[in-house]
Amino acid sequence: MNRRLRLWLVGVGGAGLAALLVAACLDLPRFGGDRHPYGDRAVRASLSRHTANTISSVNFDQRAFDTLGEMSILFAAVLGCVVLLRQTRDEHRDRPEPAEVARPVRGYALLVLPVALLTGLYVIAHGQLSPGGGFQGGVVAATALHLLYLGADYRALERVRPIGVFEVGDALSAAAYLVTGLAAVLAGTAFLTNTLLPYGTFNTLSSGGTVPLLNAAIGMEVACAVVVLLARFLDQAVEIEQDKGEGEVRAP
């Protein structure tokens, strides 16, 4: 199919899709309307289980099964990356030359690293109270670790980041989520029901029953997953070189 024909097809299809979508938009409930039956019920359910952050309650209690699905996608995506970006037989590792970083940048990175790590843990730990939770805090904590690459160089990051530990941590936290769900089955209710632990006092760290546990499991899973992902990409971009062959010239 040549380029012009394809553009023409995209134009016709896009115009049709645009017309349908706009027609659908005009029929949607008006923006800012007052009718949110599901939302109102979710808020009531969350308050009855002493979870201050309704969104966390929806994620880790009312729709915890859905989050299990999301977590599986995440796990599968990371697994796919690890398989796709492994070192093949015609490649070898080059030691990266140490990068030189200006002193203020290095100082900033080393100063902010603990602050960012702490913020990540804070966001995870307060997931059932204030905005935040495992998904967000996990990414913040994982990003914090990579300040070492930005402030020093890749070898410094490799020294403090045993990648095997993070791969095991990823699997363990996924298992922890499942085990928490199965514990509810053993206790005589349905999978992932929030009936295992007392609901606690509203707006304290230990409130919400199993919500903090599932939240922590997701936080660890996401943090490990992002570290493993970035490690694979950094390996490919910084260390792994293709062997010379087929008359190709390797970039210096």
């Binding site: 952050n53 935040g132 990003t143 992902l229 970035l230 990409f233 971009a237 087929e246 970039a251």
Partner: protein
């Protein structure tokens, strides 16, 4: 007043999305995508969804640009097998 700030955020998001698509060089597109992430986080905050805003910031400000730039670096370093026609 709350409506005004929502409209401003919506227009910024629409503009930066258009720019992100129109920027064809992947390195420059990574810059625009990181701006798009920040503007989206602001939009989510004015739509009263700070949780989603946090999520978008955590992902969009550092992780996605890092992934994109590392891919660009890996692909650029690779020698081209097929020479472009002169």
């Amino acid at each position: 007043m709350t409506d005004a700030v929502i409209v401003v955020a919506l227009l910024l998001v629409a503009a930066s999305a258009t720019v992100a698509v129109a920027t064809r060089d992947p390195e420059r597109q990574a810059l625009v995508l990181s701006v798009l992430g920040v503007v989206l986080a602001v939009l989510f905050t004015v739509l009263q969804a700070p949780d989603v805003g946090l999520s978008q910031l955590a992902v969009g400000s550092a992780v996605t640009p890092l992934l994109l730039l590392l891919t660009v670096r890996k692909v650029r370093r690779r020698p081209r097998r097929k020479e472009p026609p002169p």
